[in-house]
Amino acid sequence: MSEIVNIQGLQKCFGKFRALSDVSFTVNAGEVVGFIGPNGAGKSTTIRILLGIINRESGNAEIFGKDVWKDSLEIHKRISYVPGDVTLWGNLTGGEIIDLFLKLHGGGDKQKRDALIKRFELDPKKKAKGYSKGNRQKVGLIAALSVDSDLYIFDEPTSGLDPLMEAIFQEEVEKIKKSGKSILLSSHILSEVERLADKVVIIRQGEIVESGSLNELRHLTRSAITIATERDVAEMANLNGVFDFKQKDNLATFSADNKHLDDILMQASKLGVKKFESVPPTLEDLFMRHYEG
């Protein structure tokens, strides 16, 4: 797999504030990478560096094997971008702005544009100052989705969209993904990332704290287990790899290290299992683990 985005040891300060201290990750061809982290962690700063809007202090950042600052124009021909807070010229209509963006990007599919306007239920004749946050976001999305790019960068793209529109966005992203394009998706909405992303990169205070496929990440953490047995379940509590053990009669809930799962099952089977449920950690659990611990 060839690398579409390659970031190594990225650093950036704003005055005395250290926005990025060590950011490294890659996005491969045909991959959807979820980029998650709380507000102020450095997601947008990283994306702005990728777009050549601001320059890095040190480290390397390449898209399509080209330097994001020096060769930004070559790169920009083949990417699409939607910021998290789309701001628009109040005296232009949504339709005019979409056309402008398509033209400045170069190319763009008129039919696709019209189809997307319909799907997202945008009124293109309205002046942009009359748009709500969600409608402004739609303008940005339609403009980005109507052009044919090799890399799509979305910075919290669905903020302000209602759940129906969010679902439409996700469907559109899946279409792009199927056609083999790469996507860097920064988002707060973890269910969205969970649904779309092949790989997750978690950033905290300007540093990448975790990256890998969702499965890999899950493996590092614990599953939530519910078990009901015929005999007394209490002795499960003392096993290696069992945490947060709670018991009510013969029903117990606990979280289990995945690597000790085998021992746990062996022990449980001696007690006469009536019910056994294992829920893998959600992305939210993963996320929280990094920010609470």
Partner: protein
């Protein structure tokens, strides 16, 4: 009543608390600017100073700029008379403009930003905000009036009487209030705050220009001009307080109109309807140039109209000049001995004033690029194949284009009207006017260059260019009146340029300033091409 204005007093106190720093700077700034030059004027008045000044200010160009005096002979022209004559109109207009910006930013702007929506969700009357903002503004202007009166009186100069001092202050305060009420009405009529600000400043500009015409032709006509109710109070000479009563009644009526208009419109709406837009963009919009033209169209058209009106208003004065000369022996001698006609002298002065205003437009266009950057409007455009070269030089190009057109309109309209007003006695042709106008092109380019420099290296300082323009304008405006030292007046860029048609064209200076200006733009570009874009900071 309660429904409308409930708890306006709470808001009023909140605003005072919120704005106290601004209010302090405002009152000290305008107050000292208006009142503290008494010692400087005492210097001017020494010896034959008053006499000379009286004659200088009889020149129609000067009357068009600073207004008339009721004094009929040079002997009665006291220090107080001179001070009020030269300072009152200008200070009144400054107070007015500041007040307009304040009122709109606290009413319509807050509405646009969505603050009003939040405030109205509390137990606060629908119009309490407007009332509170208005009361705050009146309060500030009353303080300003008292402050000016107090400061002037404290110099204890001859002929600067206590009554005159407070009338002088009150006239400036009243000018502020008149500005405030016009702004409040426009804030209701216009669909957005920028349009309200623009139209109010436009109205003030128009009133100023109309009074320039009527002051020269027939001062009584200036009495029906709201602006006339401020500077025609003639402090220290006639002390005509009645005009302030007119102004007060006018303000009251305007406030009632504004509140009625506000009461019957929806929040966020105006009275000028908004049209439905296009679903698809016109071809002309689809480029960086097209976009920038579209974005700047409003301000370019607005200023273009202002330039034409300004030129026409000043131009119409030319017809009265010869008549005026006939009636004034001293002036007639002055002009015949210098070998320069009164029309030429007037042209060179007015051209400098007009070109100062023409310079605002290119600065605004260049600053607009950073304003857009800062509001993250360009985020999605940075991610396309559009280069920084394109963004920067398209803005500069548009600014230069606007300068060229602005000069053409201002000088052409002045010349056209002047020539038709003078009829057969015309001593100048259109080309003379255009040459006098384009002679100042380097100064306009210089301001554009400064704005470009700021855009590239310290974009937040873009507004400082206006401050320098204002400074240069004041130096030039008062340069003819006050005897400024050479080095001091040369700190204004226009002072380097000879005043055509009174003086001869200087190609060396023209080229030098042009080259410096272009160099500033190039240096600005070097900064722009490598700095971080500043979004939402």
């Amino acid at each position: 009543m309660k429904e409308k204005f409930a708890r306006w007093d709470t808001l009023f106190l909140l605003y005072l608390k919120r704005d106290w720093k601004k209010i302090t700077i405002w009152i000290l700034g305008i107050g000292l600017f208006s009142a503290a030059y008494v010692p400087a004027f005492e210097e001017i008045a020494k010896g034959k100073g008053l006499l000379g000044m009286y004659e200088t200010l009889q020149n129609p160009a000067m009357i068009a700029m600073v207004g008339p005096t009721p004094v009929e002979t040079a002997r009665d022209y006291t220090l107080g008379a001179m001070y009020a004559h030269e300072m009152l109109l200008f200070c009144g207009v400054v107070a007015m403009v500041i007040t307009v910006l304040h009122v709109i930013s606290h009413t319509r702007k807050e509405e646009d930003l969505g603050l009003t929506e939040l405030v109205r969700s509390f137990q606060i009357g629908r119009q309490a905000n407007s009332l509170a903002a208005m009361m705050e503004t009146v309060f500030i202007n009353v303080l300003l009036a008292l402050f000016i009166g107090g400061v002037m009186m404290s110099f204890g100069a001859d002929s600067i009487s206590v009554e005159g001092s407070f009338l002088f202050g009150a006239s400036i305060g009243m000018a502020g209030i008149i500005g405030a009420v016009i702004a409040l009405v426009m804030a209701q009529v216009m669909p957005v705050s920028s349009a309200a600000t623009g139209s109010t400043l436009g109205i003030i500009g128009l009133l100023y220009i109309i009074r320039a015409g009527t002051d020269v032709s027939n001062v009584n006509l200036s009495m029906i001009n709201p602006l006339g109710w401020t500077y025609l109070t003639y402090p220290f000479t006639e002390n005509n307080w009645t005009l302030l009563i007119f102004a007060f009644i006018f303000s009251l009526i305007m406030v009632v109109i504004a509140f009625a208009l506000e009461g019957s419109r929806d929040m966020g709406a105006g009275y000028l309807p908004e049209r439905e837009g296009r679903g698809n963009a016109k071809k002309s919009l689809l480029s960086v140039r097209g976009l920038f033209i579209k974005i700047n169209k409003g301000v370019m058209i607005g200023w273009s109209i202002a330039f034409v009106l300004m030129g026409a208003a000043y131009g119409s004065i030319y017809g009265d000049m010869q008549t005026f000369l006939e009636s004034n022996e001293v002036m007639k001698q002055m002009f015949s001995s210098s070998g320069v006609s009164i029309e030429e002298s007037f042209t060179s002065t007015i051209m400098m004033v007009m070109l100062g205003l023409v310079s605002i437009l290119p600065i605004a266009i260049v600053n607009k690029l950073f304003a857009q950057e800062n509001r993250s409007l360009l985020s999605q455009i940075y991610a396309t194949k559009v280069t920084r070269i394109q963004l920067f030089w398209t803005s500069i190009g548009l600014a230069i284009f606007a300068s060229l057109v602005g000069i053409l309109l201002a000088a052409g309209s002045l010349g056209g009207t002047a020539i038709s007003a003078m009829g057969d006695s015309s001593t100048m042709d259109t080309l003379d006017f255009l040459a006098a106008g384009y002679n100042f092109l380097p100064s306009v380019l210089f301001f554009t260059g400064l704005a470009a420099l700021a855009l590239g290296w310290a974009p937040k300082l873009g507004k400082v260019v206006y401050v320098y323009l204002g400074y240069s304008f004041v130096i030039n405006y008062f340069g003819g009146i006050l005897e400024l030292p050479e080095w001091f007046s040369k700190t204004a860029i226009q002072s380097w340029i000879p005043r055509m048609p009174m003086e001869n064209f200087d190609a060396l200076i023209f080229i030098t300033i042009t080259v410096i200006s272009i160099a500033l733009m190039v240096i600005g570009y070097l900064g722009y091409s490598r700095r971080d874009m500043i979004e939402g900071a």
